[in-house]
């Protein structure tokens, strides 16, 4: 009888250990997928800021914006602000599919909406930072700050901090999410310069 008990105990320990290992691998896989998603979301926000800078240049505007049409705010009158914290989102209705009938409609559509938020809001769980799963008319699921139709809240939040030093701009993009109670984040940063030296 003791031999059976010892045998059962050893097998039970082996099974529990193997189960823990598999659970660990599964969690690790999920965490890796979240990391990858967060990396590309953070990267997308930096690309958006770069796109705005390039668009300012292309339209012969000062790269940080000026009193005339300003792509930092898509012409809504909000100027670029030193040390500002922003959320970056695709402008609703500008899902720029390469279709002939969209040529005219999309010609004047800036793809990004960059909205300034208060610095304190980036550390609080406010909905402004949340990214929603949005299915547009073409049924493509994507993540956006803008809710459209049947939007579902995702686990990710995103904000961008911009510091301007002379003719360089340090852009930090942070994506935060909660993984079973553990707060996790991915932060990417880059330096954008005014190498084209647009109008001052």
């Amino acid at each position: 009888m003791p031999e059976i008990l010892i045998g059962v105990s050893v097998l039970a320990i082996a099974i529990i250990t193997a189960t823990n290992l598999i659970v660990g691998i599964t969690r690790s896989n999920r965490a890796n997928m979240d990391d990858l998603t967060a990396y590309y979301l953070a990267s997308e926000a930096i690309e958006a800021v770069r796109s705005v800078r390039d668009t300012q240049w292309m339209n012969n505007l000062k790269w940080t914006g000026d009193a005339s049409y300003n792509f930092w705010s898509r012409g809504t009158g909000i100027d670029f602000e030193q040390g500002g914290t922003y959320i970056v989102s695709r402008k609703a209705g500008t899902q720029a599919f390469a279709s002939a009938d969209a040529l005219t409609a999309l010609r004047s559509s800036a793809p990004w909406q960059i909205s300034k938020i208060k610095a304190v809001e980036k550390d609080s769980p406010v909905t402004k930072l949340h990214l929603f799963k949005v299915a547009n008319l073409k049924q493509f699921l994507h993540l956006s700050h803008t809710t459209l139709g049947d939007s579902l809240d995702s686990k990710f939040s995103r904000y961008v901090s911009i510091e301007l030093v002379d003719k360089a701009m340090e852009v930090k993009s942070t994506v935060k999410w909660s993984d079973k109670g553990n707060e996790r984040n991915v932060t990417l940063s880059t330096v954008l310069t005014d190498w084209k030296s647009g109008p001052n």
Binding site: V8, L11, I15, A18, T19, I22, I25, T26, N29, R30, N32, M33, L36, T37, Y40, L41, S43, E44, E47, A48, R50, S51, D54, T55, W57, M58, N59, Y69, F71, T94, Q95, A96, F97, A98, S99, A100, D101, A102, L103, L106, R107, S108, S109, A110, P111, K138, F140, L141, H142, L143, K196
Partner: protein
């Protein structure tokens, strides 16, 4: 009899646990293959978009096709999401030319699947912004805002038919000049073909 019954119960439990572990490990491996394949595919596409610009002259109304033009305008790369063997694959073809005013011949180098063969692509869409060449003469004369070319990838990957993994990325071109000397509006396609002897 009691001992045999207990042993049978124990063996059944053991077998169930073992099967479950093997199944979980297979799922884990499949998920790992999915996200590593997705990461490689996105990295490859992102790099290509950064170093190229959109081939606006050949832009087609198809969200499953992306045409890129190299910085010198002599190399065209076409990514195409195709249905094959009950799934989707990412096909890449490359064409070269020697004259910026001439069209590209059919792709001379075709890679049937640039993604890992183990990667299941459920859907993959290319969103091109803007859809007219911002550096063309027509756009320059237009008073509407011009935008730096950018591509957004919206993809969904699947693993063993159980797990799905949506992934999105946006990458803008680092080419800041007009590359193609052909103009979609002002230059007749037939004229170009005739003068190039194609």
């Amino acid at each position: 009899m009691i001992s045999i019954a207990l042993f049978m119960i124990f063996l059944t439990t053991l077998f169930g646990a073992y099967s479950s572990l093997i199944g979980s490990q297979k799922d884990s491996n499949a998920v790992r293959v999915m996200y590593s394949g997705a990461r490689d595919l996105f990295a490859q596409l992102s790099e290509d978009v950064r170093l190229s610009t959109i081939d606006y002259f050949n832009l087609v109304a198809d969200k499953h096709v992306l045409q890129l033009l190299s910085k010198d305008g002599l190399k065209q790369t076409v990514y195409r999401v195709v249905d094959k063997d009950g799934g989707k694959r990412m096909e890449k073809s490359v064409s070269f030319r020697t004259d910026l005013k001439c069209p590209f011949p059919p792709g001379i180098e075709i890679i049937e699947n640039i993604a890992s063969n183990k990667l299941e692509i459920a859907d993959f869409n290319f969103l091109v912004t803007p859809v007219v060449d911002p550096y063309s003469h027509d756009s320059s004369e237009n008073k509407e805002p011009q935008l730096q070319p950018m591509v957004t990838f919206l993809a969904e990957f699947k693993s063993a038919g159980k797990f799905s993994f949506p992934l999105q990325a946006s990458v803008s071109s680092r080419v800041y000049t007009k590359v193609d000397e052909r103009d979609r509006i002002n230059l007749g396609g037939d004229q170009a073909v005739d003068s190039c002897g194609i």
